[in-house]
């Protein structure tokens, strides 16, 4: 992958357009980033993307911004991170600046509401699509523990509304113990 102007422009425009379409915040942008950078551009590997998501999730600040920083840094160091941060922040900055002028009209507009309702259904479909792909990857490996962790974490987050920080911590600890018990011989692999 050549780090020329074309690459940086592509990085900027990709991140910018992703940010411009991240309605609903937080976790919505992650599936979109995965689709763009993993499946479409093949710049980042699947597992690495999940790791970066975990870091973005457990760091302070907006997940969208954190994930963008990580992707930028991974692809082109500090300059890359700078580009992706600016590209992520710019759409909300521009849109909110415009809206702040006549925001009551925007808030009460029927047309705007209809478009957004439609997009909400679209966003839900995108997330479900990505989740199906991701869950398939995990089930395909045919290890019991990751599947149990996935189902358990889902129930914890969805049914019991456990704070995501605790879920991340608990799953990290489970993962750490799983290697210590199972295969000490795995050291040095990869």
């Amino acid at each position: 992958m050549k780090k020329d102007l074309k690459f940086f422009w592509k990085l900027f425009t990709s991140t910018f357009s992703l940010s411009a379409f991240t309605f609903g915040g937080g976790f919505v942008i992650v599936p979109l980033m995965r689709k763009k950078f993993v499946q479409e551009l093949h710049w980042i590997e699947e597992e690495e993307m999940l790791d970066l998501t975990a870091i973005a999730q457990s760091s302070p600040g907006a997940i969208a911004v954190n994930a963008a920083i990580l992707i930028g840094y991974r692809l082109a160091g500090f300059l890359g991170a700078l580009i992706t941060v600016v590209a992520t922040v710019l759409p909300p900055l521009i849109i909110l600046s415009i809206i702040s002028v006549g925001y009551t009209a925007f808030r009460d507009s029927v047309i705007v509401n209809y478009v957004l309702k439609g997009m909400q259904a679209g966003v839900a479909a995108v997330i479900v699509d990505v989740v199906i792909n991701m869950a398939q990857e995990i089930v395909k490996e045919k290890h019991a523990l990751p599947i149990i962790v996935m189902v358990g974490a889902f129930i914890a987050a969805c049914v019991f509304k456990v704070n995501v920080i605790y879920i991340v911590l608990a799953c990290g600890i489970i993962g750490a113990f799983s290697v210590r018990k199972k295969n000490p011989a795995k050291e040095g692999e990869k």
Binding site: L32, L50, D51, S59, G61, V85, S97, G118, G122, V164
Partner: protein
């Protein structure tokens, strides 16, 4: 110095909102409404509503909104920079550690535990949006009158298109927005 105050306020918002999305809300409220009185509670509620209707994280949206009202466009820029800076510092540090140590067995184990958890949390967030889209924020019930059928049909078509042709999500979402406008406008609700 208003710029410095804005910067410092939103620096704290960026630093203490862990868990993303709505986790930031009470912290922003504390800084912007309670401590500085930059917005009234009603205005703050409007910012949250607008945030849900527009792209971008709530923290960045409120930084822009508050900044521009208090000190114009530069206020918006400075508040946003303040909001993003803690993320930059902490995330870059973690990224550095991750790339340095990710091949260690222990790190492999931790990451192996986190990957399925991330999938689960994305699924959980997706479900929340699905419920919001289908029931419009009303309590979940099986009564067909409570369901937003346009949304359900739109969702099904989008999912089918995505699975079948692996289409670009941004095109699918824009299409859903346009079809949604037409459907709600002409068919009512």
């Amino acid at each position: 110095m208003i710029y410095l105050q804005l910067f410092w306020s939103f620096f704290q918002v960026g630093l203490f909102s862990i868990g993303g999305g709505y986790a930031a809300m009470p912290i922003i409220q504390n800084q912007v409404v309670t401590q500085h009185g930059w917005l009234s509670m009603t205005e703050f509620a409007d910012v949250i509503t607008i945030s849900q209707m527009t792209p971008g994280p709530i923290s960045i949206n409120s930084a822009t909104f508050v900044g521009i009202r208090i000190a114009g466009i530069w206020g918006a820029v400075i508040a946003t920079v303040g909001c993003v800076l803690p993320s930059c510092i902490i995330v870059l540090t973690l990224a550095f550690i991750y790339y340095k140590y990710r091949n260690l067995t222990l790190a492999q184990g931790i990451l192996g535990g986190l990957r399925p958890a991330v999938v689960a949390m994305i699924a959980s967030a997706g479900l929340a949006i699905l419920v919001l889209a289908f029931w419009e924020g009303k309590p979940v019930s099986v009564n067909p009158q409570d369901l937003d059928w346009i949304s359900i049909v739109l969702f099904s078509i989008c999912l089918f298109v995505l699975r079948k042709w692996k289409s670009d999500p941004i095109i699918v979402m824009s299409g859903a927005g346009f079809v949604g406008l037409c459907a709600y406008y002409f068919l009512g609700r």
